[in-house]
Structures are given as C-alpha cells and as structure tokens.
Symmetry: C2
Subunit: 332 residues, 2 copies
C-alpha cells in the first residue's frame, strides 16, 4: 500500500502487522479478577511492557525500517528519543541488518542508556534544557547520509504502533469482550493515534482516553486548540517516557477525527499503579507506561459496568525507582 | 477420556487443554536477545507467572474440578498448599461455582495469604514444623464431605499442569525453534511430569532438567533411589513454593520414564535470576518460580549452541523480598 492519504488507515495498520509480526511479541491481554474488583470495571490490560526492548516503540520502528528501500536503509539510521524509540530503532536496525545511531537526553534513565548501548551502533547525548534534539538529529542525518526515524510524526511509525490496537481488538474479541473504552498514555501521540485507527472499525463506539502527566497535558491542550501545543523544556515528572516537548501533526490529525478525551495523572498515582501491576499482574511497568492504569485506578472516569482496555506501554524502569514503587506504591 | 493407565498420556493433556483453555491465559513464550547473550544460548521463557492467580497451579486445579462430577464438586473442595496450589483450587472453585477451603502453613508469604483470603471460602493454617498437612487436610475433607484436591499426586492435576508443556511446544514451533532442553523448577513433580509428557512427542530428544533448591533435592534423590524421597521438615530456603516435604508417586513414575536430569540452585542464584527477569523480561517471578532461570544463568549445564525452554512458574512474591532482588540481585 502507498501513502495516499495524510494519515494511515486500517489497511496501513494491517500492512504493518504483516511486515513486523514475525519480529515482535504478540503481548498478552491480561485480565485479573482482583484487579477488576479494585478498578470497579472489567479491565483487559495489554502488557506491551513485555514487548522486545521493553516497549511498543519497536513496532513503529520495524515498520518504518522494513518500508525503507534497502539501499536507503543500508546507509544507516538515526533516532532521537527519551530512550524507548531509540531502542526500537536500534533493534529494528539490527534485525534489518543496518546500523543506527541513537541520540538520548543526558537525563535518560540508566536502564535505557544501558540497553541503547547494547542495541545501537552509537549512543550520543544532548542536553534537554539547552539543545533542540530535532535540529541535532537532522544535522547528523544530513552529515552522514542517515535516515532520521521520527518518533511519532511519521506515517509508517504511526501505522506500526497501531498494531498494538489491532491486537488489542482481536484479543478482546477472543475473550468475548466488547470494549466501551480504551486508556492509553500519550506524549507525541503515535501510539494513541494508531490505536484510534484500530478501534474505529472494531469498536466504533469506544471512547479513547489519552493519559498525560499532570501539568504536562500537551495533547489535551492540542485537542482543544486544534494545533500542536508544547510542554515546558524542563518538565518535572517521573514519567520520563511521556514528557517530550511536542505532539505530532499526524497523530493530532488522527485523534481529532475520533472520540478522544484527555485525562492526567500525578507521580503518586503512577507509583500506585506500578505497584498494582507488580502485585496483581506480575509485570514490570515503567512510570510513563503505567499512566493509563493509574488513570483508571484513581477513578478519574466513572467506569461502572464498563469493559475497558488499558495499555501498559513499556517496562524500562531503573531498580532505584522500582524500589520506591515497592514502598510508596502501597496506597491501598 | 478415562484414566486407563496409571499415568496421564498426551491425550489426557489435550483433554485438559480443552477443559480449561477458556479460563486460563495462554502465557507468552518470551525471547530477549540480550538475555540470550547473557545465558549463552537461545532461551525461550514460558512466563507462567502471568497466569491467573500468579502461578501455573490453576491449570491442574481447573482440570480436576471440571472433571469431578457436578454433585461431588458442589459439596465443596479443600486443598493444602504453600500458597499457589491453594490459590489455584480456590480460583477453580469460584469459576466452577463451588466453595473451597485452603490450608496454608503459618509461614506462608504475605502475598499468598492475602490472595488466598480473596479467592477462598475459608483460609486455615497449619504449623509446618509440627503438623502433617496431609493428615489435617484429609480429616477436614472427611468431616465436611469435601473433596481434597492433591497438589501433585493426582492424575488430572498432572494432566492439567501438562498444558504448560503443550503450549511451550506449540509456541516453540511457532517461533521456529527446536528445543534441545527444557528447565523447570520441581517440588512434588506435577509440573515437571506434565511437561515431560508433552515434550516426549514434540521434542523426543529434548532433555528435561528439573531444578530444586540446594540441599533440598528430594526429586533428584528420588530419581536415583527409585522411590519417593523426603525433604527435612524445616527447610531453609527463600524458594517457599518448592520446599514441600515429599514428591508425588505419579510424577515420579512419569519422570523415571523420561530423560530427566536434576540440578540445584542457591538462594543467591535465584535472587540474581529474579533480577534478570525484572531487568530484561519485565516480569515479576517468585523465588521458586525463578529456579529454572537461575540454573541456566549460573551455567550449571553447558548449553552452547543449544535452544532451550525455561519455565518461570509463578510470580507471587512479597514486596519486601523483591526489594532484596533489586539490591542483591545485581551480581552481573
């Protein structure tokens, strides 16, 4: 399929699934009866933290990398990222047999730096308070003839992330569930947009809740203003994966066409959600990846008698922060 | 199928799968490239810690409970257990619409007690240093007309646990892997025996390694002596799930017919394996459930160029012990 429209369609998501499915894990859709009781609804949790490289980002990266012409791909790739997209691109490059440089903020978590060093050909750093990562990324790409893989404002990347939504819908049907709503964390919007496209056909009446860190609701504000809004450059949040500076134009276009509502969560609510996932689901979720579960657990929305999907998008969390979860997360 | 032989066959495992599959999670078979490098082989990890109730035990319990005549089941069930089998029986009872009492040791972990209290109709305690849990269990069963569900020495329970092995083989084939060996933790032997039966047909040359706590190798000794050996009554080990007093006769009969080798692991090796699962696989594994991964990680067996299956059988671990994993587990 070509890119005839400005935003991906369901067919583009299906193409992506065909391209990447033998290289990604079909992560389970977990249901726990105790969790349902605590959340006050039937909750199906897409444990995407179990994905290769510990986050969903490898899906979009693989779809983009396989879509590139072999002679372009061969010259090498570059990505800027808080960590998970860099990991996804570096892993996709290795799988496709090419190289990738990854540009990380100096504030990246230890586990993401360590993992990027394993996967990437080279890891570079930028200062998130002073540097514009997009400018640096483009410069290095131009200088070395590399292809810059955008983290969210890319047609094929959004289509790849949408495979999370395809699987979520398929697995919900397998489990005889009709989804009334889906909760997903949001930063640039690639994952949320991909899921919105998948939901539209299978569960057209399902509401998509996008979850952001408190005071850093750039997508929530963008959906109201109708144009891409920005976050402050020095965000204070433990949710490192979802505090990026801007939202994507492609994701925003997609999300404006759907029934989307914005919710925000605090660091404390996220620690509690990570603890709940540890105790009941036995999965390790990173702060940004636990935002959607946190929104449901802290009862931001009335969900009585509803069946919902919750995406836990990543699990790349440092031991030190996880130790805080084990102590501070026990609010129930 | 009836129980014509003394031990279950592949057909009995398939019957079990048909009975229970809509009530259990088809847990993923995870592969991580960094993990492969660390372990020095291709490792496919069956993340059975993600199973409902946090352990594989619900499979055997459900198969037994659905196999019971409805009028028998209706009178109620009882199980004795270090926790996971009790949880499995209590959950199976709820799913089948009957009641279950669970008999736990006073030394059971907090998380197992808490979870049993949620699932079971009643939780009772015994002193593992003084009481014989089998005698108490039988007495209560007789007094109240309940059916005692044995944790491992039961034809239908072994067949149910074997569904872990069926899935492991199916998923390995889906991932184009030919298994040279499978590592699984062992106590009474129900899980190991079930897996042995499943392996035999699909990967007849695969060696089954059963992993036990150091100095508590009752199955290893039983396989040598040819009769059921016992553990001391006051075992010192963090692997609470696999320190039970005796092995099962049915499991021992099964295991003696297969190519089985015994390996043992220390508490420290298990903490390291739990840390590895946290860091690379993003799953929470309990000490007993991490024994097989620990055996591979600590290079007990030469596995160069091999493709292996590793079962992580449960994830019911207290926060306090997991905090130790985050600190003490970092031996690499």
């Amino acid at each position: 399929m070509g890119e005839t429209g400005t935003v991906p369609s369901l067919e583009h998501l299906k193409d992506a699934a065909r391209r990447i499915s033998s290289h990604v894990i079909r992560t389970p859709l977990l249901e726990d009866y105790r969790l349902n009781e605590i959340l006050g609804c039937r909750a199906l949790v897409k444990a995407e933290c179990l994905q290769r490289t510990g986050a969903f980002k490898i899906r979009g990266a693989l779809n983009k990398v396989f879509w590139l012409a072999p002679e372009v791909r061969k010259k090498g790739l570059i990505a800027f990222s808080a960590g998970n997209h860099g990991l996804g691109v570096a892993a996709a490059a290795r799988i496709a047999g090419c190289t990738a440089k990854v540009l990380l903020p100096t504030t990246a978590t230890e586990t993401k730096i360590e993992s990027c060093r394993w996967w990437a050909s080279e890891v570079l750093f930028y200062d998130p308070e002073k540097d514009d990562r997009e400018v640096i990324g483009r410069k290095i790409a131009e200088q070395h003839g590399l292809t810059l893989i955008q983290p969210f404002d890319d047609f094929q990347v959004v289509a790849g992330q949408g495979t999370v939504g395809l699987e979520l819908c398929e697995q919900a049907i397998e489990q005889k569930a009709r989804l009334d709503a889906v909760f997903v964390n949001c930063s640039g919007g690639g994952l949320s947009a991909g899921i919105a496209i998948a939901l539209k056909t299978t569960f057209p009446n399902a509401v998509l809740y996008i979850v952001e860190p408190q005071s850093l609701e750039k997508m929530g504000r963008s959906l109201i203003s109708g144009r891409p809004e920005r976050n402050p450059v020095n965000p204070k949040s433990i949710m490192d994966a979802i505090v990026g500076p801007r939202v994507g134009s492609i994701p925003l276009s997609v999300l404006r066409q759907h029934q989307v509502r914005g919710v925000s969560v605090s660091d404390q609510e996220v620690l509690a959600a990570m603890s709940l996932a540890f105790k009941l689901l036995k999965v390790v979720v990173e702060p940004g990846g636990a935002a959607a579960l946190a929104a449901v657990q802290s009862k931001k929305v009335d969900l009585r008698d509803k069946t919902i999907g919750i995406v836990c998008s990543g699990g790349n969390v440092d031991s030190k922060l996880f130790a805080r979860v084990l102590v501070e997360g026990q609010i129930n």
